[in-house]
Structure formats: C-alpha cells, structure tokens
C-alpha cells in the first residue's frame, strides 16, 4: 500500500492553473522527489496534502485512508520557509511542535537539535538565527519524534554547501532507516543524489513520474568517436536512430530502449568504412532529462 496516493488533484489561483489533474503515488520507504521549475506547482501540491490549501478537485489518501489531522501528526513536515515563533527559542518552539503533534519527548528535543547541529544555540531566540539555522530548526521540528514519513519542501534552502551536504546525508540515513521521504526541490543534483522516485511537474501538469532509473533510461544513448569526419553523416543513416548530435566528446546517438546493441553500431560503422576509437554507453543525468521534458 502506498503511503500517499494522489488522484487527479487540481488547484487554481484565479485564472492561474497551479495544478492540473495531477496523479501519482508514493511507495512506502521511498525517497520521492517532486521536481519542477519555480511556479510548477510543487509547493501547492505539498500544501494540499498537508491540508494548508484546499484543492479544487481530486482526492488524496494517506496510508490508504482519507486524510485527517491524525495522519498529519504522524508526518514531519517543513513547508516553504521555517514557520516558527520568532520570539521563542529553539527549545520553546519545538515544545509547541511536540504539544501539537504529540510526537517526541523532552529528551528527543535535545536529540534532534544535536542532529541538526543547533544544540549549542538551543536557548537562543529564533529571530537571532541565520537563515541556515532557521532552516535547520524547521528540519529538527520535522524530525521530532522520529516520524515514519517526512515531507520536506526545499529542505536545503538557505544552507551553505556544508549544510547542504549534511542534510543530504541525513536524508540518506533516514531513508536507510526506512522512513518515507517526500521532497520538493528545484535542485536537480540534490534530487538525483538522494531520491529513488521522482515526479516532474511543469506548469501544474505532471510530465512524468516513477523510479528515477526508469525515468532516466527510457532510451539508450551511446557516445562514439572516430578519426573519420564522416561519422556524424553515417550515423544519421542508421536505421531506427532517434537522434544524433555532435558534442565536444564525440557523437551522441539516441535509440529506443533496448533497440540496439553496441556491437550493432560497431558493425554498422565498420561496414561504412569507419573505425571507431570510442563506443560507450552514456547514462543520462536527471538534469538533462529534466530540461528535455520541461523544455526549458
């Protein structure tokens, strides 16, 4: 049973369609990345599943049941900016989170503050924190009580490179412990490094979703090289080739998945009088796929 199932969710702000019939499900134990450029509807989607916004249409379920506040108590969440009381300290803020959610204990407050490296400033007021520290405190609030599901909207916002790396490691550790993590981000590198599932949104529409390796490998790409200047022209005549382009590293050839084997390419070139000095299978990166799908 998926942890979260979203069916045909739509949401408009006046004439702007923020989400348009989006459906996907989040498997238990997965690290699920929601990707999209700014304004694609990522935060709107997370706001709806956290009951902060009401959808115009569609439904969603948490743990196979219609959503309720009891489900939200089980979910650690960080939505957009850290939403905490400015005049209170880290500990006092986390006590409020604990009181509302029923998650965690006084000891666990100290533990999560140590985890996000805020323990030494635990008695400083929120308003005195840097942006990165505020973000860490919000993450601490989400981690309080070790919830089985985490919803994190741009969790590395405002963090320095070291902080980003630490949060990334934290997310990986949490995933290893079996937590389900739903994470929205526009940092493709970040998502590729920590997520095993992904949904890509563009202008409120779901472009694709699924296992990261499946999303990335819907086609095969080979990078080939030769001293012959005819290579590009010859490969254009390869039967069934989808796309061929010259790059700095050689010629990139795209085929439908499992359509061709490397030895077929080698044979084809050889029969056309070209000897290859390079033939490698190229793995597409999420960034390439993202730009390809979103067209930006």
């Amino acid at each position: 049973m998926p942890v979260l199932e979203i069916n045909n969710i739509s949401k408009s702000y006046g004439k702007i369609q923020a989400l348009n019939g989006v459906s996907f499900s989040v498997p238990k134990g997965s690290v699920f990345g929601i990707l999209g450029p700014n304004g694609s509807g990522k935060t709107t989607m997370l706001s709806i599943i956290l009951d902060v916004l009401q959808s115009d249409g569609g439904t969603y379920t948490w743990f196979g049941q219609p959503p309720s506040n009891l489900h939200r108590k089980k979910i650690g969440s960080l939505l957009e900016t850290p939403n905490l009381y400015h005049y209170l300290t880290a500990v006092q803020n986390l006590r409020i989170t604990k009181s509302i959610s029923g998650r965690g204990s006084e000891n666990e407050i100290n533990e999560v503050l140590q985890k996000v490296k805020l323990h030494e400033r635990k008695n400083s007021r929120f308003t005195t924190y840097s942006l990165g520290m505020k973000q860490r405190l919000a993450i601490a609030g989400a981690l309080l009580g070790n919830p089985s599901v985490l919803v994190l909207d741009e969790p590395t916002n405002g963090l320095d490179p070291v902080g980003i790396a630490e949060i990334r490691e934290l997310i990986k550790d949490l995933a290893k412990e079996g937590h389900t993590i739903i994470m929205a981000s526009h940092l493709l590198d970040e998502v590729e490094k920590v997520c095993d599932h992904v949904a890509i949104l563009k202008r409120g529409k779901l472009i694709t979703h699924g296992n990261v390796s499946d999303v990335l490998s819907d086609e095969d790409c080979f990078l080939i090289g030769s001293s012959s200047s005819q290579l590009l022209e010859v490969m254009k005549s390869f039967d069934g080739i989808k796309q061929v382009k010259q790059t700095d590293d050689g010629v990139e050839c795209y085929f439908n998945k499992a359509f061709v084997k490397p030895e077929n390419i080698n044979e084809f070139c050889f029969s056309n009088g070209i000897v290859l000095n390079q033939l490698t299978s190229k793995k597409k990166r999420l960034e390439e796929k993202f730009f390809e799908l979103t067209g930006d």
């Binding site: 706001s47 956290l50 902060v52 916004l53 506040n69 400015h86 300290t89 006092q92 989170t97 509302i100």
Partner: protein, 277 residues
C-alpha cells in the same frame, strides 16, 4: 483536548514579553483611571465650599459599596482597547510568522486552532475581569465609610456584565485580526472605528432617531455591549429619563451581546475553515 489546546496556547505566550508588557499596562490602567476619578471626586466632595457640599449631596458616593462595581466597570471599560491590542497581536503574529499553517501541518484541525484562540480570548477576559474586580473592591473598601449598612455585593451583577462586555469586544478584535492579518492595519482600523467612526455614527443615528423612530446607534458593534453598563447613577441622573431607558434596556443588550459574540465566533470558525492558509 482542551488541556492540550490550553497547554499549547500557554507555551506560545509564556515567554512572550510583549504579551506580558501589554497585560501589565492593562493592570496599571485600571487602578489608574479609577484612582484618578475617585480622588478627583473625593477632592470635590471634601471641599468645604458650598459647591463641594452640593456635589456631595447631589451625587452621593459612587465609589462606595455597592456602587463601586458599577462605577469602576464603566470607567474600566474605556481601557478595553489595550487587551484588544493584545488579541490582535496574538492572531496577526500567527499570520506574520505563518505559524497558523505550521499548527495545522503539525496536526491540529483548523477548528482546534480557532478554539485555541477563543480560549486565549477567554483567558485574557478573565484576567482583565479580575483586574477590574480587584480595583472595584479596593476602591470600595477605601471609599466606604459605613460597612455595616452597605449592601456590599448588591451590584455585583456588573462583574458578569463587565466580563461579557470585554469578551464580546475582544472577540470582535480577534475577528478583525483574523480578517486583516496585518497587525498595524488591524490596530489602525480598530482604533479608528472604536474611537472615531462609531462615535460619528452614533451621533448621526441619534440625530435621525426621531425621524426613524429608533436610535440605531444602540446597535453599533461596540455600543451593543457598551450599553450593558450604562452611565453610573451619579452621572446618569443629569439625564434621568434617558438613563432610566438605558437601565431598562440592559437585559436586551445582554441578549444582543450574546448573539453578537456567538456570531463573531461562528464567522471566525467559518473563515478559518474555508480560507487557504
């Protein structure tokens, strides 16, 4: 459930200095205005002159038991705007810090959030009423000369009326904060309406009262509850006919105030439930 709401609301204000500062100002303002009024009155009746003795004969002692409950309730009600600012601050803070969203994300129902604020308004009303009772009793003790014949708690119904008036007016302040969401705009509207607009409207309605057959100024937002505590007799006797009508209308205004307060909270629950956070 109520325990959890109270505990959480307490955690929000326990270490909030501005909250306690404003409550302290309220605490100071009540003995302040009543004390000034009492000593000004005392000075005038203590005067050996003919006019001083005339005032004493005419007005009696409005600060002695049991009239102290009425007089101090009337004077204290001028300072309800201070706790109203506290209430506006509490709700607009939630919007400013976006903690109203976080409270929902962390697991409260939207209704629970509004219940929390309603309990806060109730709690502050109780504190303010306690300030008023303490001042009324203290001034009553100072001003009463003949305790044996004084009917000490004869007018203690004004404690309930004061409580109801403060709760109603703070509830209106809460709704304003909920609607406006921006602290300074909400303060501005509250002060402008309370001190200027309602007085202008009250005056206009009074002018039209004969023509329209009724003074609709009695049903303005704050006037509805203000009229539960009419002018104390020592002032009211200068326009006895109108004062008698005002006293006769107290029960009606209790009912109107209850209806208004219920409506304010019903609207607050509805708005928060329907509004995107």
């Amino acid at each position: 459930m109520i325990k959890n709401i109270l505990q959480t609301e307490w955690l929000k204000v326990k270490n909030y200095k501005a909250f306690w500062l404003l409550l302290s100002v309220t605490a100071i303002s009540y003995p302040g205005i009543n004390g000034v009024a009492y000593y000004a009155f005392k000075d005038s009746i203590d005067a050996k002159s003919q006019s001083g003795q005339l005032v004493k004969m005419l007005l009696g002692n409005p600060f002695a038991f049991p009239q102290t409950f009425h007089t101090t309730a009337y004077l204290s009600s001028f300072f309800t705007f201070i706790p109203a600012i506290v209430i506006i601050m509490l709700i607009t803070n939630e919007y400013m810090f976006k903690t109203h969203r976080q409270n929902i994300i962390d697991g409260w129902k939207k209704n629970t959030f509004v219940w929390g604020k309603m309990l806060s308004v109730l709690f502050i009303t109780l504190i303010v009423t306690l300030f008023y009772v303490a001042v009324a009793v203290a001034i009553g003790i100072i001003a009463t000369k003949d305790f044996e014949n004084a009917q000490l708690f004869n007018q203690s119904q004004f404690i309930v009326l004061f409580f109801l008036q403060v709760f109603c007016q703070l509830s209106i302040a809460f709704l304003l904060g909920l609607l406006i969401r921006k602290a300074f705009i909400a303060y501005g509207i509250y002060v402008f309406y309370t001190f200027i607009l309602e007085n202008i409207l009250g005056g206009l309605f009074k002018l039209k009262a004969k023509k329209w057959g009724a003074d609709f100024g009695h049903y303005l937002l704050f006037e509805i509850s203000d009229r539960m505590i009419p002018l104390p007799p020592f002032i009211g006797k200068f326009n006895e006919a109108e004062n008698k009508l005002a006293i006769a209308a107290i029960n009606d205004h209790v009912l109107y105030t209850l209806i208004l307060t219920a409506a304010v909270w019903a609207i607050s629950f509805y708005i928060f439930k329907k509004r995107d956070l």
